[in-house]
């Protein structure tokens, strides 16, 4: 009985109906937080004493990097749940998290390079932080590629989940790389314990952006999973009913 809340996630139909109800709320909240955070961070927050306005890339770079790392754990845990409980929806979540995570990792690397040129004097340097972040991108792409390489979905899911699990070791390495080794990348300004070295007038919009990115991530993941669920369950009666009677979509 206690496991019922968990096992209902095994039903793609249940997921499709519930996620349809959550999506509008999540989308509105995400848009709100991102809009407020962008205007606050990009226009209203003060310029930095050394970097001037170029520091503002932090409002994209830091949230994207956060979600790229957190999203990897989500993908790996989804893969583990799929392996242990043979839950198809968990594999769907893993596959979709790989795409969203790869995109966010790319955003983090790209914005970092754009900021690096005026600040450091170079777009790219092979230090521990940047290199391990590139490895993260390759891990995400590897999960996608491995999944696509098999014809049988079950085999594809298992293989991709194993790669996702092995890759989890990279996440703490990325996070701690700036403390463990000498790198060009600076240590984190945002500290979980202790004072952040980011002035409060700059920190507040950043926190708004991070919440906005989390919400945006949820929206992107759910949208992608819903599309994947429909494709996988294309032959089931409930999807057919959905297609033949589109007006009853939200009520299911």
């Amino acid at each position: 009985m206690a496991w019922q809340w968990f096992h209902q996630w095994g039903s793609p139909r249940w997921f499709y109906q519930r996620s349809g109800a959550w999506l509008p709320w999540l989308a509105v909240l995400a848009a709100l937080f991102l809009a407020v955070g962008s205007v606050w961070g990009l226009a209203l927050a003060p310029a930095d004493f050394k970097q001037g306005n170029s520091y503002r890339i932090i409002y994209l770079h830091v949230p994207a990097s956060f979600l790229a790392l957190a999203g990897y754990y989500l993908m790996a845990i989804a893969g583990a749940i799929g392996l242990i409980w043979k839950m198809k929806l968990a594999f769907t979540a893993m596959r979709c998290a790989a795409t969203v995570g790869a995109a966010l990792t790319f955003v983090a690397l790209f914005t970092g390079a754009v900021w690096g040129k005026p600040t450091w004097g170079t777009y790219w340097v092979w230090d521990a932080r940047i290199t391990s972040m590139l490895v993260l991108l390759f891990l995400y792409l590897g999960v996608i590629a491995l999944y696509q390489a098999f014809d049988r979905q079950e085999l594809a899911s298992k293989a991709a989940a194993l790669l996702a699990l092995v890759g989890t070791v990279n996440v703490p390495i990325i996070y701690k790389s700036v403390d463990w080794w000498y790198t060009l990348h600076q240590p984190a300004s945002l500290k979980i314990t202790g004072d952040s070295t980011l002035h409060s007038s700059m920190l507040q919009p950043l926190l708004v952006m991070i919440v906005g990115f989390y919400l945006f991530y949820a929206v992107a993941l759910l949208l992608s999973m819903r599309a994947e669920v429909l494709a996988r369950e294309a032959n089931s009666s409930w999807v057919r009913a959905l297609v033949t009677a589109p007006q009853s979509r939200e009520r299911g």
Partner: protein, 171 residues
Amino acid sequence: MHPLRKQRLKWVLLIVVASSIAVGLFTFALRENINLFYTPIQIVDGEAPTDVRLRAGGMVVKGSIERADDSLFVAFRVTDGAESVRIEYTGILPDLFAEGEAIVATGVLDQNRVLQASEVLAKHDETYMPPEVAEAMEQGHQRREAQKGSGAESPSGYSKGYPSEEKNYDR
């Protein structure tokens, strides 16, 4: 939990733990190669090889910058607080290059352990603040220097929170 699922959970944990140990040992063995640069103390101690390309990093020593009048040649010393190393470079320096700022230079150590640099990068620290706050902190720092010995707490570095003086300027 179903025994079969418990079995699979054990496998999943085994994979994660085993791969973590493997990568941990691997990075531990390569730790010297993962560091982006040598610190001045490593160079002075002879830990850094001469005549191969390497990077040196540290803080530019105040008052050590020498510039040529007729070329882009510049020489300066970088320090890690313990030792310092001379760096010679001809070219354009990044905007954030200044005394007291951290840099990472790529080049070759000559026989005198002077780094002949081919590239100088600025290493930005993790401190971000508005110019007014930086100014206020500088003033507060100077005031505290003047009051030294009268029981004032030791000046905190930029990376350690903000002194209360800043509040007056924080709009």
